[in-house]
Symmetry: C2
Subunit: 460 residues, 2 copies
């Protein structure tokens, strides 16, 4: 057979080393989120196709559709002019937000008044595969459903700041802005409703194309000179290097001078002021960076918005904000919500590139040798005793192989110690303990080997 054995296009195999690293990252994030009282939710990989259709606009074409089966498929194939929506009934989930909205609608009595949930799991998008972009990738979402209070924003941003800190990302900034503040600026700048989307798109590009680029975008999109004059200062204030040396309070005062008399602007500034105060003594405090130019695309946000950036790398580690109109999509009720999606795949790539994983994970702490079949039970019992003490132990399986080969295997698997049992050792009541890094080998009494190995492993 010459079947291809690579993963399908855009898919990945995670071999043990990478799998362990991914797990460590997910567990670090999970532990921090749980310390904030967030609870795990798991939704199925597949949703009804109809649940997902109409929710993702242009991106809808990237949904992986799953074919009907059996008689239903046969019937569909017999239709004239059959198209893909006749042939599929299920689809792989595209994100973790629509499933959350479905769950909130389905189990109204199961959740507390404020539902704080996180979900870390794969989503699937039929994107063109390219470097760093996959068709199956993990999302890591945290959301609070049911409250409009700014303490929610403070907790969500603090939880992610703490998670990133635990992962080793110092020096991050949580850029924060408010959708209604942008609306107020649009009003003051006399940008007509029909042009506001264009203006937001242009402003949103500043990190990529710079201030001059945005200026050109404004011209290209026929935005007025006076609009530019009102809106361009936002770009400067949002740039950590160009920004005048003002603290949050002073910046908020300046913004208030411009849009404080707009109802939208006043409410937005009050939210941001409260957020800055609340986070002052919290993990988000040092990282929070008011950035009146942050726009977060054309998404569904209705209040504060966030994005994580750093001088240490390009682009963003994730984003989020308040979206009070979305979670109710299946219920006809408006349900306030605020959430954040950490870009875990990007985080994993950066951690790999920047050697942020502390050590190569070991598959086992010690390898127990196998001399011959007669001594196999002795070796198995040694392995048992070592495991009972909490050590991770591999037992060499083949008694035909000499110890040289067995040591080589320990080396290949990156196992730091080998416990040697041969007739001599057995007769003397000892176990040979070999340190694979130094090559040193010493005899330890059988009755003390567990303790000695525990110490040796701990001191690694």
């Amino acid at each position: 057979m010459t079947e291809p054995t690579t993963p399908a296009s855009g898919m990945r195999d995670f071999l043990p080393r990478e799998s362990m690293r991914r797990r460590r990252v997910f567990e670090t994030i999970r532990d921090v989120y749980e310390s904030y009282g967030f609870e795990p939710l798991e939704t199925p990989s597949m949703e009804r196709l109809s649940t997902l259709l109409g929710k993702y606009g242009e991106e809808e074409k990237l949904i992986f559709k799953v074919m009907k089966r059996g008689a239903k498929l046969s019937r569909a194939l017999q239709q004239d002019d059959v198209d893909d929506e006749d042939l599929a009934d299920l689809a792989l989930r595209f994100d973790l937000t629509v499933p959350l909205a479905r769950v909130v609608a389905e189990y109204p009595d199961e959740f507390p008044r404020f539902f704080k949930r996180y979900q870390i799991g794969p989503v699937w998008r039929a994107d063109r595969p390219q470097k760093g972009r996959f068709r199956e990738f993990y999302q890591c979402d945290v959301d609070v459903v049911g409250s409009e209070s700014m303490t929610v924003e403070a907790e969500v941003t603090s939880a992610l700041a703490e998670a990133l800190d635990e992962l080793g990302f110092a020096n991050i900034r949580i850029h924060a802005n408010h959708r209604q503040l942008l609306d107020a600026f649009m009003a003051v700048a006399d940008v007509p409703d029909s042009k506001r989307k264009d203006a937001l798109i242009a402003i949103d590009k500043v990190e990529k194309i710079g201030v001059e680029g945005v200026r050109e975008e404004f011209d290209r999109r026929d935005l007025s000179e006076s609009a530019w004059e009102t809106l361009s200062p936002l770009l400067k204030w949002g740039d950590p290097e160009a920004r005048p040396d003002v603290d949050d309070e002073a910046l908020l005062d300046r913004l208030a001078d411009q849009v404080g008399d707009q109802p939208d602007g006043e409410a937005a500034l009050e939210d941001l002021r409260q957020l800055a105060e609340l986070t002052e003594g919290m993990p988000a405090g040092d990282a929070l960076f008011l950035d009146p130019s942050l726009a977060r695309g054309l998404s569904y946000y209705t209040g504060p918005i966030f994005e994580i950036r750093s001088d240490d790398f390009q682009g963003s580690l994730g984003g989020g904000g308040r979206y009070d109109d979305l979670i109710g999509m299946f219920t006809n009720r408006e349900i306030p919500a605020c959430g954040f999606s950490l870009g875990v795949e990007r985080i994993l790539v950066l951690m790999e590139e920047r050697n942020m994983f502390e050590e190569a994970p070991r598959p086992a702490d010690v390898l127990v040798t196998l001399w011959d079949d007669d001594l196999a039970s002795e070796s198995a019992e040694l392995a048992r005793d070592l495991r009972a003490s909490g050590l991770r132990v591999d037992l060499y399986p083949e008694s035909d192989d000499g110890f040289g080969k067995q040591f080589g295997y320990a080396d290949e698997r990156n196992i730091p110690f080998v416990a040697i049992l041969a007739p001599d050792e057995l007769e003397e009541g000892v176990v040979g303990l070999k340190n694979m890094e130094s090559g040193d080998q010493t005899d330890i009494e059988r009755s003390r080997i567990v303790e000695r190995l525990q110490q040796a492993v701990e001191s690694l």
Copy 2:
């Protein structure tokens, strides 16, 4: 909108309580497997359709196929007589074994000589949904690739015995048999090759239909009277209650009397003898139960086979064995392997039914109250300090709600303690600590609250 919001047919949502329980089970198994030196492997949810086709016989029709997209789909739809294999290019994985075989073929230089891997993850089958049977369900596989030694069987069975013990399943039996022993019996019983499958199917049903039922199956399948006379004692020996009071050695001797002169029989008995000896001092030892009637269906096993049963429940908690012809399916090489699949979904159902989960998981250890916006920063800082000490802390978000409502929320979320901060407490430099179970409330100095709460949570 009146869109359905239930999960799609055969799919499940796991709300926090259940999600946490599932995780606890998976992590318990994982930790035991890792203590035996097994490493995690993750393969993608989707494989090429061609990778899966031809691997599952009759069951192949249960594979979920994923539709082609864009131009490829349009082209396929324009064909005459289009069928489902023209329309799909990907499929959801059906088990974890074919992906393992693909991975072993794809990365020959990445694995040590003996590759010990576990994988815990979902698979998808378009089965008719019914009680306890789902279309997305977890499998939990452990396999050793590359060795023919019986130490592998001893380690695999010990690891799963230990995992089940950790989960609280006492009183399990690991039924063990050997495919070649069954072959030897077939030879001695003069069952023609063409009838051996029938005989195995009949024997395999004994747990369900009893000895008399197997007898009828033999008749129905035209198996000879002499075949019954040779094979029926196996049924008795495999029944823990009917079995004569013999130890493993005596049973193996009896079996040797009957088939020891068959080459297959001799080799099989030697394997089983070695396995019984090796496991004697290992966690599998007490549970191992030689059962010469165990057949494990029509599967691909070539050596020892295993199945977990108990007097405490019907059916099996998982099965496995040696399968030396399968892992090489993509390589043209024969690669020895031995593995075991724990029935984790069944385990989860049993644990739920039998109240084996120790306590209801708590989403947080303590709720910090919110008096009003002026005190919000004080509450946020108290939450921060408590979290820094390792406690899991929820901060009540809405300052409009009275403390009665806030206590109610703690109760609803099953949070055992509430830390109360109001102007009186603040002025006196204390925090009110309310035990939600007893209702007791005491004032604790702010400087000592972290320590006191830690003690209180530990003593729960």
